[in-house]
Amino acid sequence: MNFHLTDQAIEPTSLRRKLLSLSAGAYCSYEGWVRNHNEGKVVKELHYSGYPQLAPSIANTILKEAKEKFHIEDAAVVHRTGALTTGDIAVWVGVTAHHRGDTFLACRYIIDNVKHRLPIWKKEIYTDDTQAWIESNHCGCADPKNLEHPHQTHP
């Protein structure tokens, strides 16, 4: 399985090593970092909550879709749970392929869908000790072409 939920720090170097392949000519990765601000508030921590009995099947569906849509060799996703501080890596995606073009496209496809479909939720903790569950990832960052099921209710 190329997906893991973990409450431990994400180590991109070791994750990259697992994707090494002599037949791959390209590798592309994405790291989502905890930034220190959101919508005018200063963020101290993010708390990620996941649904571990459901997340693997959703993640593997996304990875399978990426392999069907793009000419890639392999792909993997790791997502953090628990309390993260600014600068921590919240999510990592890695993709290998014969050529670079498909690694870029597949990497974006995977992260866009992870953000909208993987059963993980984040709560922001602010420096004034208030907190809020984030209700939407619709920040305009996702490529709409990538989101076949952005509001999926009937699979």
Binding site: S49, Y51, L54, I58, K115, W121, W133, T153, H154, P155
Partner: protein
């Protein structure tokens, strides 16, 4: 029949728990959610949540069976 309910994210905070069992006399996820929304002041409308039954995404109209687990999933915000 007995249904096991899992709570995540804001719903867990509002319910003050991550799971519970309830005895219900119907088989409707919508009716169950309406009761939970009333009990815990959940802010979401049923149509805005996804439903997972026995750890699989399921249609809102799926009929519950005795012993099922169900989770009502707010919009996902990973990454």
């Amino acid at each position: 029949m007995q249904i096991h309910i899992l709570y995540f994210a804001q719903l867990a905070d509002l319910a003050g728990k991550t799971e519970e069992s309830r005895s219900i006399d119907h088989n409707s996820p919508a009716e169950l959610y309406a009761n939970l929304k009333h009990s815990y002041n959940f802010p979401h409308e049923f149509k805005h949540l996804q439903v997972a039954i026995n750890h699989q995404l399921s249609a809102h109209s799926t009929e519950l069976k005795d012993g099922d687990s169900i989770a009502f999933l707010p919009p996902m915000t990973g990454g």
